[in-house]
Structures are given as C-alpha cells and as structure tokens.
C-alpha cells in the first residue's frame, strides 16, 4: 500500500497521456512523452513520498542497530550511487502512475516492493510495481475481478537503450519471474493486505495468481523503459528486438523524461 503522497501520485497519473504504438513480437507498445509539467509533478511525488527520509526510518536498519550492529560501513555513501537511487525511485513512481493510467490499477491496491531505497543501494531486482484487484468470491479459482498487474521499471542515462531493453525483457521472463520468486512476493502482498485489514479469505486469493502463471486472462505484465527524449529513435529500434512472447498480455512502455540525467538534482 502506498501511504504517502497519494494526492501527488494521482495528480501525476491524471497527467499521463499514453499513446499506442505498433505491436512488437507479441508485446503491446505504448509511449508517454512527458513534458516539463509532468516532470514537475513527478518531482512533487518524489518529494511528497520520500523527501526527508533517512536511514533511521528503515525498519531493518533500525532493528539491526537496536541489536547492536555497527552499520557505518553500510551507510558509507558509495560515490554516484545516491544519484542513481534517486532517479530510480522517481522513475518507479512515474511507472506506477503510468499503470494507474494505462492498466487502470487502483492506487489503493498498488504495492512497490523495491522502494523507498533512500540512500542505500538495493540490489534487489525483479518486480517494482504490483497492481492487484481481487474478487470477493470464496471459490478457490481465479474469477472475474481478480487481476494482477506486474510492472518492471528500468531507466538509462547511457547513450544506448540496448541494455535497458534487454534487462526489461529478462525481468519479465519466466526465468526471472520464477514461481518461487513470485510466491515470496505474493506472500508479502498477502501480509500487507492483512495488515490493511483485508479479510483473510480474500487476501489469500493473491496466491491463485500462481496458477499457470502468467494466466492469460488474469495477469498483465508491463515493462516500463524510462529514458531521455533524445534516445527515442534508439529505443524504437531496440523495441523491435524484443523477444517474441505469447499468452498473458505484455506491454512495453516507453517513457521519455526530459532532463532525466539531472532530474535528481531537482529533488529535495
């Protein structure tokens, strides 16, 4: 559940203007060309959700400190890492907003397991955004109303988008979205739903998404590639090289964010 900056998130989602593009190898492709207003809205999201966040807010680090561990080595900033993390966090929020707009995800039912990263590098890869809706059925089968949207987000400030496209495709592949990996993510989702007061029976429905994953009618996979507008042609080229897929709906989303290389400097 995203608890902070909800108004800003919804505002950015409302601004999201997705254009459909040509399908590529079984992938639906769309694009969001952000303007300066969108960027300002994205920065507002970042500031609202993460500004002022410190390591002391991190429950893991807090717990370790309380257990007597000296985490100075961990807390030592490693050069350009902080810039990269800030950009990553910001682009993941941008992607989440695009999924509210594009996949009709409900902000109240979205989960972003990889943020806040704050000042520390987190090597965890995989799913960045979950959007889930659950039917109220008691039957232990996926039903109308059950849907899981999985978003994976990558950004690049390199001169080529090749690596980003490759990583995105991999991150949504069967190998990366292995059943055990998905299972552990769904357990977290289930735990959070229960924390939010969701009925145990309904919360357990998240596990039905494991069935024949990714089930065509109940799962949408979204790869969000964020880069600066000057790489649009390069990205268009690489989209054509996406691996051929079938089954569940897969969307490749191109997001062009002006000033991506320095956007972190504008965040609080």
């Amino acid at each position: 559940m995203i608890s902070h900056g909800r108004r800003e998130l919804q505002s950015l989602a409302d601004r999201c203007d997705l254009e459909e593009d040509d399908e590529a190898n079984g992938w639906s492709v769309d694009v969001w060309r952000m303007d300066e207003g969108d960027v300002l809205a994205a920065i507002a999201v970042y500031d609202a959700v993460l500004a002022g966040g410190t390591d002391t807010d991190d429950p893991v680090l807090a717990l370790l400190r309380s257990d007597g561990y000296d985490l100075d080595a961990l807390l030592t900033d490693n050069g350009s890492g902080k810039d990269d993390i800030t950009r990553s966090d910001l682009t993941e929020y941008v992607a989440a907003c695009s999924m509210i707009a594009g996949e009709a995800c409900d902000l109240d039912r979205m989960h972003m397991p990889n943020i806040p990263k704050m000042a520390r590098r987190k090597s965890d890869s995989g799913i960045d955004v979950f959007g889930v809706s659950l039917a109220t059925s008691n039957a232990l089968e996926l039903d109308v109303g059950d849907h899981l949207t999985i978003g994976s987000v990558k950004h690049t400030i390199d001169t080529s988008t090749s690596g980003m496209r490759y990583k995105l495709a991999i991150s949504l592949s069967d190998a990366e979205l292995s059943a055990p990996y998905l299972m552990q993510q769904l357990r977290v989702l289930n735990g959070r739903l229960l924390q939010e007061g969701q009925d145990r029976g309904v919360a357990s429905r998240v596990y039905l998404f494991l069935r024949d994953f990714p089930a065509e009618d109940f799962i949408t996979l979204v790869g969000v590639a964020v880069t600066a507008p000057d790489l649009e042609a390069d990205l268009d080229h690489h989209v054509k090289l996406l691996p051929t897929v079938s089954g569940a709906k897969r969307t490749f989303r191109k997001v062009f964010l002006p000033g991506l290389r320095t956007v972190q400097e504008r965040c609080t």
Partner: protein, 1009 residues
Amino acid sequence: MVAPDFFLSRRQLRRARIQEALGLPRQVNVTMHRNRLLERLVLASDGETEQFDSLSEDTVDTVVSLALAELDESAVDALVVVLLCVKVLAADGQFARLALLAGRLRSLGDLLQVERPFLALATRGLAAALQGQEAKARRLLDERLGVAKSGRALSAPRSREHANDLLMASTIRSVVGQDEDSRFALRAREAALQVADGLLLAFVDCVIAWHDAVSRARPATVLTQSDMTFQAPGLVTYLQKLRIPALYAPQIRAIQGGATRDVDLVVSLPTSSGKTLIAEFRIAAALTRDPGSKAIYVAPYRLLARQVERSFRANLGSVLRLDVQDLGSGFDPTYEGDTQADPDVAICTPERLDALLRLASSSRPGHAAAAALFEGCSVLVFDELQLIGRAGRGPRFELILTRLRAKYPSIRLLGLSAAAQGADDVARWLTGKPALAGARRPTGTLEILWETGGALRQRVSGRAPTTVAELPRKAPVDDAAMLILSLREKYRPVLAVEPSRGAAEGLAKKVMAAAPADGATWRAGLSSSELTTLSTAIQEVKALLGDGHPLAQYMENGIAFHHAGVPTHVLQQIEQLAAARLLRVVCATTTVAEGADLPFRVVVIPHLNFPGSSRQLERDLYLNIIGRAGRANVSVEGIVFVLESAARTLQHVVRASLWSTVMRDRVQGRLTDIAPDPQSMDAWGAYQEMQSQVMAWLGDADNYVDEQAGFLASKTFTFEFGTRRDKRAVVGLFTQALTDLESAGYALAASPYRLTARGESARLTGLSTASVARLEAAVDRGRSGWLQDLVEVDRLTPDLAIQLAQLLFEGVEVFEHSLWLRRNTTTADAKFEALRSFAELQDESHHKAPEFESDVELLAQWILGASYVELARQAPTYSHANSLFGGTVEPKRTSDATEYIGKLTYPASWVWSGVIVLAGDLGQRLPAFLRQAIELGLPTEAATRLVSQGGLTRPAAIAITDLAGDSWAAVRDWLQDPPPDETLPFQLTQLDLARLHELQERVQQDLLM
C-alpha cells in the same frame, strides 16, 4: 480456469523420487509439478494451527514432495521453497522431518556463501537449530556475527540486501541459546513486510514457527505440565541433561494422555515415534514417585532389548543412577546368582519374565528375590504389545500377561504398541480403556510393488496403485539383487527382509556375485577412519567364524546377512556398521525387521512366503517391516519395494492383504488357533506351550476356584473379545489341557485341579510335558553317575560334554532341530510322526543312528569350545550340496555350522535350566556356569564370565582361560596383574583387546567379584 490436479502433481513428484532412487532417467516434468504445488504450500504456510499433527496427509505429502524436489534453479528460489516447507512442518510439530531438512538447508547455504555470506550464515544457523543443536547454532552465529570475542566474524554488510540477510542471521540468533525470546523475530517480521522482502519474510516466519513449536515441545515443558513429578530436583537435572530438544507430536500426545502417571495405559504409536523414550520417562517418574521400587521392561526381541538397555543406561543409569540390567532373553528360572545386584530397572524378554513369574511363586532358591522384583515393581512396560495377535508367540504373550495381571494386579502396566495394528481391544483388555493413539508417523513411506510383469507400482492411499517405472523381472533373488545394486548411494544401507536364514544368506551371496567390482568402488569412497572401523569389525567376524567365512568377505564389500543363527557378537558388529552406514545392504530375517532402530532408508522384500500358519507374509509383520524404512533421523521418507510373487497362492497377497484398504487392522487373540488335537509339528508345539502356561497358572496361586478352565479362559484376551464360538473354544482348550495334565500326572483333579509335586517341578522348567518326561528319566539315569561328576567342576571334560549333549537332546525342543530328524524324515508329516514318537518315548532308534551321534558330538564340541570352522570339519558330509552340511565347500559348511548351532543353543540352554529343576537337590549343586557354557559354547566357568561380563568373544575367552586358569578366581587374579599385550601367547582382535583392558580396570577397581 480449471483447478490444477494437485494429486497428479504429488503423484508425479513421488514418481520422480522413486526413479531418482533407482538411478533411472527422469521421466517427469518436475519443475511444472513443483511449481503447481507451490500454491498449496503457500496456503498451508499461512494457515493457523493450534495443535500439532493436524495437517492433512495431502498437505504433508505436498510439503515433503516440495522439500525433496531438487531443480536446476537459483539457490535463493530453492531456499524460499524449503523455508516455507520448514514453516509448515514446524507449525505442525514435525520435528523429525525438520531435522532431516537441515541437510538441504545447509547445502543451499553453501551455495550462497560467496554472494550472500549473511544469508548463508543464517541458513546454517537455522539448520543447526532444526537438528536440535541450538547451542552450536548460537556459537556459530555469535562467532560469525562478531558478538563472541573469539572466532572469525564476517565483514560488515556492504549492501542493503546484505543488511536484510544480516537481519535473518540476527533473528535466528535471537531465538537459539539463552535468550529464547521471539519479540525480536516478531519485529523482524514487521520490518520484512515494510521493506517487502519476501525472502526475509519467509525466513523470519520460519524462525517464528520453529521457535513457537519447539518451545511447546521441549521435554521439560511437556512433562512438567502433564506430570508434577518432573518438578522433582532429580528429574529436573535429568531433563536438563537429556539432549532432546523437542518431543515428537505422538510423544507429546502420549505424555499428555498420562503415559508417565501411575495408571494402566496402552500407548499405540506409529513406528519410529520414540516409544522407548516414553517408557524411559514413565520409569523415571515411577521410580521417583516411589523410591526403591522397580521397573520391568519387557522387550520381545534380543536386538530390541540390547538397544533399550543401551538407551536406558545412558540416561536412567548415568544421570538418575538407576541400576539398569538386562536379565537375559531365554527361559531361565533362576534369579539370584546370575546378576550382581537387584536391578532398579530390569530388561527381559517375555520368556524370561515367564520364568521369573514361575520362580516367584515357587519355593526354589531365588523365589524370594523374584517375588520381591514383582512385588516392588511400580511399572511394567510391555513393548510391541501387538505381537499378542501374532501366530507363534502371541498365545504365550497373552497367557503370560493374563497370569501377571492375576498374580500382581497392583503392578501398573504401560503397553507399547505399533499404531497401525489396532491395539484398542488389547488395551481395553489390559486397562479397561482404548489405547492412547493417533498422530502420524514422524517420517513417511513410499510403498512400491514390483509386479511380475515388470511394472513398478506405487501404493496410493484410497486410489489404485500407479505405475512409476517399468523394469523387466527375472527370478526374485536376481531381481532383488539388481534392485539393491541400482539404488543410489544416499539410499544405502538397504535392508532386505527374507523369510528364512538361507534366503537371507542366498541374497547376500547374489548381491556379491552380481557386481563383484562394486565393493572396491564402495570401499574407495570410505574415509580412513571408516575403513578402520570396518576392518576392525571384520577382524572380529573372522576370529569368530574363521578367515574363510563368506560373511567376512561380504562385509569387506559392504554386504552382510543378519539372522538368529549368526553369533551375537557378529550381529552386534553388523548392527554397529549399519548404524554407521558402513554397509551397503543387510540381508536379514525378521530379527532386524522388528523393532530395530537402524538407518535404513530402503527396505526390499524379495519373497512373500514367510513362515507361519498362513505361509505368507502377514499384514502385521509387513507393517512392522516397512517401519524400518526411513526412520526418524534417517530420512524424510523411506521406500519399500515388495517383489510380487508369481506363485498362485501368493500372487494376490499384496493387494488383498498387505495393501488392503478394506481390511480393518485389529489385534486379535490367537488362542483359538491352537488345536486340542495337534496334527503337525507347529500345532503340537503350540499346544504344548499353551499347556505349559496352564500349568504355570495352576502354580501361580489364587486359582482355587470352580470351573478353572472357564475361569482362566474368562481372563484371556481371546475370550473377552472373541465370539461365542471363540469363548467355547478357549474353555475347551483349557479343559483339554487340564485333563491331559492330570492324566500325565502333573495335576490332580481334586476339585479343583492342583499341581502334583511332579507338576510343580515341570511348571518351573517351562518345557513341554513330553520333554519333562524324557528328561526326568535321563536325570534319574545320570543322578548317581556323570551328573554327580559335574558338581564343582570349573571345566567340562570331553566325556562330560558328550554326556551333557546326550542329555540336552532328550528335550523335544532340542531334538526337533537335530540332524537325525532332518536326515531321516523327508515330509512334514513324517517329521511330526517321528517327533511324536520321540515325545511319547515310543521310538529310541535314533540312539544308534550315525546322524544322532553327530548331533551329540557336534553339540559337545561346541560346548568344549570348538570353532565354527572346526565344527564344520567334524560334521558329516552329505551329497546334496544345498542341504545342511552338504558338499565340501568350507565357507558353506562353516555357515551351516553357525546355522545348526544357532538353532540348538537357545533350546539347549533352556533344557539345561529344566534339568537343574528336575534334578532337585542335585540340581542346586550343579555349577551355575553350565547354562552359559551351553548357550555360549564355552567349557569353563571363567570363559563364560569373560564373555557375559567382559563382553569378550568366544575365542578370546577360551585363549585367556587356557592361559590364566579355568576358574573365575584364577582369571580375576590374572587380570589384576596381566602381562603386556605384546607378550600374550595368542593374538586378540583390537576389539577384544579393548574389552580386555576395560575388564582389567573393572577388576582392579573391585567392580567385579
């Protein structure tokens, strides 16, 4: 969307495991089926259980299948699956399975060592905790996390991922060792949800579930809550020293049901559930509540008795300072003189218990001590109680218990029974209430039938068997050998259970011959210390059986056979090697199959034609046999392969009986099996045994009632739970027995029956009346001659040994194993007729026969100390190579000698005990060592003491007494100041040297008189 077929996936994963065990190519899409079952796992992991052992069989099967499925995937993916399996099993109190998953966790930890050192550490810490090694886990975590001053700490976490991993290590550390507090773990769980780390969440959930379960299952917690006695200081110390981290669910249920309190109770537990530990707790509590009282543990098998004695000595002996003694296994109506002191805890077989019961209500020396044992007994534990329903010994057990309850009603009884066999009726008979039962076996079993057509079919509960593979069949013994050799290394040692000694030895030989090079390959994989252990054991086997004995050669190749014809010392070596997994296969009769706790993962049953009235493997024996596969601490599940028989009478045994789902398992009394007019050897033996029990009852007192047959019958299990017809049959049987006793002069029909003086003596012998009649005459013949010469001897001369052997063959129980009977009768009917003629003193022609002369000579030579090789050389040679002593091949003949002597020594020593009784005053003056001389094959008093008290082997004992003297006094003096080992004029095995040194210490400390 159609719901997945979870049953199919479980079945396929089991199929894959069986294929893997047999080294067959994998024909199952393990990844697909594993992934499909994750939904069931994750749902189970979120389930809330209040009680242990409440998971459905399907869920347990799912979890086990998932935990054992090894895929080509990332270590983290594999780890998260295993962690959730651990969580589910922990919440259900499945500690045996958890301990076995520790190895899987540890190997995953190894894979993660470089990339994620803190995760590897956390995983290893959890693995150690699951194995009950919490202190070790704590030490490891303290050292590697830098909490302890010593040790190599890991460097600080360098990434956020490492920080989460560190939190896992920190979480497991917080619940092992001293702290035992789950608050930190609960906070870690909150953090895991907040940072959305699924692996961290799974790990922490797993730790919380395990910690919660283990806290509820600690012996001290369970016992003190159920029985205040365990708050006594002595027992608090005992529990502290007991290295058992958690009790299994069946044990907890038994304790909560009153197993340790002073009540009569039958506990019906699955095999491998730790029944012995429950008995130990009961004894500890009973003897603490009533200091100075005694406990008796009745174990129906010698191997089981040995295991129980070892186990009790370790805790009851060393911690509670209770004197634990094995009173022996044979029928021996003596008590004082064969033990050093009055034990606190006496371990014996039902036959020995019977002898003591008879002694206690007699006027013979030792009766007061025997009576004191029973009168002071606060608890009697009867193990394997379900054997009451077994043909053969069942009626004996039933009548012994009938007499015990009548004579000593104040003794509280704890009956232990295998759960699968329906002991409720027996429990009601003994305690007035059903057995305390329930709870699943701590580990599982896969049962496979290898059909004659080649299909390997797996038993599936509630459904038709499913095919797991196809392998062509040939002959059962060839197939069994091939199967055993096909099994992968981790499935060894394999136990193959055969119906006879010959079949067990034959299979060992076949395994050896089928792949002679495999032995060298196997040995090459052993460590130097393992090779030393193996060669030390083989050295002992050679010393006992001769260098050329095939068993020694087999053992060098990791193969052994185990049956009652093998000397005890050799059996012990085989058991120890099997326990250390230093054998590939043990081919055994039911000696190992019933009650033994050895690390077999696979059991193979090549033949179904087991001895007994039905001539087939009975369901209750089958259930006991399969209980040997995959015991707790061995593997999460065992595998049993049954080879279908092509014989018309046996081809339906598996599905119609062994795997039957309609058959209700219920222990039933077997007295109705006994025919009042026996027409076969088995039936005759059963009738004689029953008659002996009736005679024993007549002398037990408190039976001066009208209608004695009806009265005694009404106390039996068969009667109480039988049909009207059964009741009539039992009354009729006892009426017949009483009439026969009267007509033979053992009882007097004096309204009611009473024993005559002759009957009083006969009763104490425990022998058949036929034996008693023959022995009485023989004793009379020797009374003024050679028997007088025995008085005060401490060494048997050849002449006396011959006389002794002749006397022993007067017992029907000995004679029935004679060469003469084997060679002179070819059919079962002819054997029975010959035996009946012998029993009724109608035919004495055997005395002049050369085979009988050989019988006497061989038994005499055995008693004089001849080795098995020497006996084999002295035995006659018969032309039929497969017959006993057929052919000239020395190893085969040596094996024949062990089998021949093995069958004689038990009844012969029993007969000798009878002779002592029948000889009256003279019997009292005969040397006490003679019983052991016959049983152990030793000619001197000193040698019997060296074996029985020092544990030395027979050759070593003979060599030492040849040097030191025949009397124990002489040997004791020699042990006070023995010569250096290197100057001994004979060579002892390393094991014997160690035993000798231990004996010297005990003698020098005056611990042995």
